[in-house]
Symmetry: C2
Subunit: 391 residues, 2 copies
Amino acid sequence: MRIGILGGGQLGRMLAIAGHPLGMNFRVMDPAERCPCTSLAEHIAADYRDDAALDRFAHGLDVVTYEFENVPIEAVTRLATRVPVWPPPEALAVGQDRLREKTLFRDLGIATTRFAPASSLDELVAAVASIGTPCVVKTRRMGYDGKGQAVLPENADSNAIARVWRELAGDSRGSSNPLTTTADLIVEEFVPFDAEASVIAVRSRAGEVRAYPLVRNEHRSGILRHSRAPFHGWSGSAEIGAAGGIADRATESVADILERLSYVGVLAVEFFVHAGRLIANEIAPRVHNTGHWTIEGSACGQFENHLRAIGALPLGATAMRFPGASASMVNLVGGWPDPARILEEPTAHLHLYGKSPRPGRKVGHVTVVAGHAQIDRATRRVQDLADASWA
Amino acid sequence: MRIGILGGGQLGRMLAIAGHPLGMNFRVMDPAERCPCTSLAEHIAADYRDDAALDRFAHGLDVVTYEFENVPIEAVTRLATRVPVWPPPEALAVGQDRLREKTLFRDLGIATTRFAPASSLDELVAAVASIGTPCVVKTRRMGYDGKGQAVLPENADSNAIARVWRELAGDSRGSSNPLTTTADLIVEEFVPFDAEASVIAVRSRAGEVRAYPLVRNEHRSGILRHSRAPFHGWSGSAEIGAAGGIADRATESVADILERLSYVGVLAVEFFVHAGRLIANEIAPRVHNTGHWTIEGSACGQFENHLRAIGALPLGATAMRFPGASASMVNLVGGWPDPARILEEPTAHLHLYGKSPRPGRKVGHVTVVAGHAQIDRATRRVQDLADASWA
């Protein structure tokens, strides 16, 4: 089977690594001359808006998927006339727009933050008044890793609102006159939270849904630092009661979203956890950083399950690899420690993405799989090494 | 790290799949225009005796290894002057020659069959007389999958011996006059056996040795059909007592061989099991078909451990993936069943090698990992599918 992937980053790379054993071959399209997929796939280096390149890319493929959600909808729509594209372009459109995302949560009865859209400075002032402060103002599109958003503190005045408008509307449109600029923003209630969580699930072409255990996540400077499954409290943070209950609710929510979108492939949903309640924050219509632990932590990882789903194969098992297992994933950001130091930890699995070090860039990750009793010590050891090279 | 592999078959392919996550890149040399490694590595398509191609291959590599033991010694020796080659060329020379192999076993006090070399028809007659019948006559070199060998039954007469001489000496030298032909043959005692076993072990550049659990193997038409770890009796065959004891002896034997050869990388040793005793049969100085189950069955598979060893990284854990786990590997030979049928078995992991179907050709394998109580049923299901497509 010949699989096309829009985007040639680390997610595409891990798809290719998972797919070769299934007898799959890969072609990626990525504007960069070299990318993490280059040594594992045929690579068409072209812009996603280059129609001729898209046609060359599509030629002879059995199915197309994408590995990041900011790929232009027009590219996906064009490809979909020639070859099946999974997940469906509609899911990509929802995932690219925070307003549609939040509206989908609300329509499905999934608890989310209160929100209001704003396309002008006047609308922003009105939206802030309706949601109240503190609140978070975000661009509807193209935000990632904490970019394209700003917090308005309690009792923020009109100057503060205008400042945020200039900052984000400028981000969004490149214009400099705040009074005539229009921009697609969304104002969201500021949610204090005890923990962050995510659920990774997969839906097959036949409509079967399987979810991995709920994941607990921790960010640093807006970048994912650490994920752990199954979700439960860990030392140094407040214990979250009723973890089993929220895991069930997360699984129900992701199943509802998958059904509504007639989804095929892996989807991630991110939540805040506050006072034992889940508050849906966003979806990612693709394999997800908070699911990397599934490669070793479950019998069939998210990358293989995504490929099984889009390739019309039966889904794989999503339970933890063995009863009593825990898994943690530690991101390597900006640089990486000596691989020999990491691999001295007997439960550690190293993943480097073939990228050069650069501050703030995800260059690899380490997964630790161990029994509940051992996971803390092993994770701390890897975390100490990762922190020392964080840039 | 840039790794060169002599041979671009499925073993090289699985090395590349295991090594990319460690940040390694691969270059293979294989005479075929396309090979299973083509989509995962830079591929130099040239004969192993092409010195200019060997020099191009070596350029810029950090370390060279090989994935089949019939690569010419001259190629390895030439490469070793330019770049470290692991396992050491000496191990390759021993692995290529049944007489040196058996002599090594004997020198280390490892039980093996009685044997005698023969280079002419006269010597063959004398060797058969000294070993007795029934016995097995083999070419010293280039035998694999049951080729290059013949059995002399009890009381075989001189005509039968001459017939075997013509067959094997012809194989070995291409000459047609049996009286003037010379050939490198070995006569081995015929060993009745209750089971076949193998042990896969790895030695690091620092001299650390780790062995995987002992494997039980079953062949069909001279081709490996099925491996299972840890070694124990299974239904339909005679139970082998004292499996724990023979596992310990196998581990000691492989450790002695690794030390003697100053070995670095993964080595396999194959044994016959007769009346509760191990009888060493041959070594393979490389990753091995009977170790494929380690990819999912242990925390660090043979392919990753081979790369860790030759790349001067700490060795990974070789125990079963979780307490109470068993693993079986079923070879796909000549063709493969519908992948969807295989993946319906929730404990199955599919590996296709990107090769076209051809009778007798290994084109993939399936690994099942499950608790002792579930492994039989799951293995049978996969075995039934594999048998139906065996060609």
